[in-house]
Structures are given as structure tokens and as C-alpha cells.
């Protein structure tokens, strides 16, 4: 996979497979904003139901945890040569400042190393400026974590993904 192979179509497919078929991602209103090899940008729109402090309206840290965890997982998938099941081994979060009420959250994650068993990722959550982070994280993921179907997808989405991949293979040959 090279950078230019990740097209709008790929991103649309990821939204379907990685967001629409993951109930918690859907519940948070998560969205894949952009992607390239080993890197992902995801967002979560501000919502009253995600507030952690009712007095200030600041989003709960757990939302940032979910967003970064999900975005890290996608960055790992984008770094792997083939799709496989992955599981979060550990995730360390540092909170730099509270999120500003009413503003959407964005996470940018980068999977910077993949070994036989483990993938290493780091990420940042912010509003608009990545250099002014709300939180940063580092995480490790176990590769081929279980014997289940690699991706949480419906049969329809799987068929669609296969068709898309086959078509792409044809284009390259």
C-alpha cells in the first residue's frame, strides 16, 4: 500500500466498515476525516450527552479515550500489509487541557512501528490546531489478536470490500 492508494473511496469504505459497523463509534458520532498509510484522522462532534462536567459543559475524558483508541486502531490497520484482527494491549493518555465546550474533537494518530506481534501507535486529540493538544496518547496493539473475522463487518460490507479490493488488484496488474 502506498500513500496514493488511499483514495476517497477507501476512506468511504473505512467509514462504513470501521464506523458504521462499530456500535460505539456510531453512538459517539465518530467520523473518519482523512487517512493515509499508517495515519488516521477521526473526529467526534460536540454533543451534550458526552459532557463530563455538567457545570462547565466540558467533554468527558472518556470520550477522548474512545476517540484516540479507535483512531489508533485504524492507524494500525492502515499500517498493516493485510487486514487482521487487532486488540488494544495498553493505552496511555495525558490530558493537557480540558476540551472547549461546543467544539468538535479531532484525533490524529500515527502507527510508527509494526513488529511480528505488536504495533506501536501515538496520537493527539485537538480542536483545530494539532500543536495545541487537548490530550496525547501512546498505545500498543496486539496483532492477530483472536481467531475471529479480521474486521467487524456485515456480510454486505465484506462483499463490497472484497469487490473493491479485487477491482483495485485488477487495476494494478
Amino acid at each position: 500500500m502506498t500513500d496514493d492508494e488511499i483514495t476517497e473511496e477507501h476512506i468511504a469504505l473505512m467509514k462504513d466498515v470501521l464506523i458504521q459497523h462499530v456500535p460505539h463509534a456510531r453512538a459517539l458520532g465518530m467520523n473518519v476525516v482523512n487517512a493515509k498509510r499508517s495515519e488516521a484522522w477521526l473526529s467526534v462532534p460536540y454533543d451534550e450527552k458526552l459532557v463530563g462536567n455538567p457545570e462547565t459543559g466540558v467533554i468527558h475524558g472518556g470520550v477522548i479515550t474512545s476517540l484516540l483508541d479507535n483512531a489508533c486502531g485504524i492507524a494500525v490497520q492502515l499500517a498493516l500489509p493485510a487486514r487482521m484482527s487487532i486488540a488494544t494491549l495498553d493505552l496511555r493518555l495525558d490530558y493537557m487541557k480540558p476540551a472547549t465546550p461546543k467544539l468538535d474533537l479531532t484525533a490524529h494518530t500515527h502507527c510508527y512501528k509494526v513488529t511480528t506481534n505488536i504495533a506501536f501507535v501515538r496520537g493527539t486529540a485537538y480542536h483545530t490546531d494539532e500543536d495545541d493538544p487537548i490530550a496525547t496518547c501512546v498505545g500498543t496493539f496486539m496483532l492477530a489478536a483472536n481467531r475471529a473475522v479480521p474486521m467487524p463487518i456485515s456480510p454486505e460490507a465484506a462483499a463490497e470490500a472484497m469487490k473493491f479490493l479485487e477491482k483495485n488488484k485488477g487495476d494494478k496488474a
Binding site: P23, L50, G52, H60, T65, D69, L93, M151, P152
Partner: protein, 150 residues
């Protein structure tokens, strides 16, 4: 932690937090102990094939468990949002995949400083000796009478 203090109603405090309600977290308060419960619902799923809970929900649950424990031990009577401790850093170890059932959590304050508290939290499902995740974190304590606390 003094004997005479009336324990605050931590479940009421949690129900006032929209995100804790969204995750379906309640607090079971017995004497001087609390156990948090994250009631299973479909929105908590991260992998529908296994199925397994989303790692983020487990992390959020552990963070909430730690905050609940801090509020339980440090708040006086009616704990308000302003008294909620703020997370500084949190490390989560994912030990087993979270099954689509209720999850329980307990936290322990390892060290309480003047400004920062260190907390360990654990989450389990059917068997407490087989935790699905553990976390340790640092939280900034903000006394309710500190208007500048931020």
C-alpha cells in the same frame, strides 16, 4: 475518610454527568465501599463480530471509577461538578476482551497528595480474579473552595 463524615451520594453525582449516563454507569454504594457498574448495551460494542466491548468504553469506565472513588473519599456531603477531580494521565492495560455483559469496577487511591492523587482501578465481569482491564492514573484535585482551581 474521617469516620464521622456522611458519605456523599456518589450514584447521584454520577447520574448528573451526561457521559456517565450515556455509558450506563451506576454506583453501588455499601458502607464505606463503592462498586461502579457499566450496564451492558449495544452502544458499548467495539467489535460486533466477537462481540466485545469497545476499548474506549472500558477506558472511560475505569476513569469514571477512579473519579467516583476520589469523589467518594474526598467530597463533603453534596459533591458538585466543580469538585470533580480532573484526569492528568491514565494508563490502561487491556487484559481480556470485554464480553457483552455488565462490567464492574473498583478503584483504590494509592497516594493522596495535596494537589494530585494517584489511583489504581480494575474492571471485571463474571469473575473478579479475572479482570478485563486495569488502569492507573493521576488526578488533579480541585477543592470546592478554590475558585482559581483550573
Amino acid at each position: 475518610m474521617s469516620e464521622k463524615k456522611t458519605p456523599p451520594d456518589i450514584n447521584a453525582l454520577m447520574q448528573a454527568i451526561p457521559y456517565a449516563r450515556f455509558l450506563g454507569i451506576t454506583v453501588d454504594q455499601r458502607g464505606n465501599e463503592i462498586t461502579t457498574v457499566m450496564h451492558f448495551k449495544e452502544e458499548l460494542i467495539g467489535n460486533p463480530v466477537l462481540p466485545a466491548l469497545h476499548g474506549g468504553t472500558i477506558g472511560a469506565f475505569l476513569e469514571t471509577t477512579a473519579i467516583a472513588q476520589l469523589a467518594f473519599e474526598f467530597s463533603e456531603g453534596d459533591a458538585a461538578g466543580s469538585a470533580l477531580p480532573k484526569p492528568i494521565g491514565l494508563t490502561i492495560d487491556y487484559l481480556r476482551s470485554g464480553k457483552p455483559v455488565d462490567t464492574y469496577g473498583r478503584a483504590e487511591i494509592t497516594k493522596q497528595g495535596r494537589r494530585v492523587a494517584t489511583v489504581r482501578a480494575e474492571a471485571w465481569q463474571d469473575d473478579r480474579s479475572r479482570p478485563i482491564a486495569a488502569a492507573h492514573g493521576h488526578f488533579l484535585l480541585k477543592p470546592a473552595d478554590d475558585p482559581a482551581g483550573s
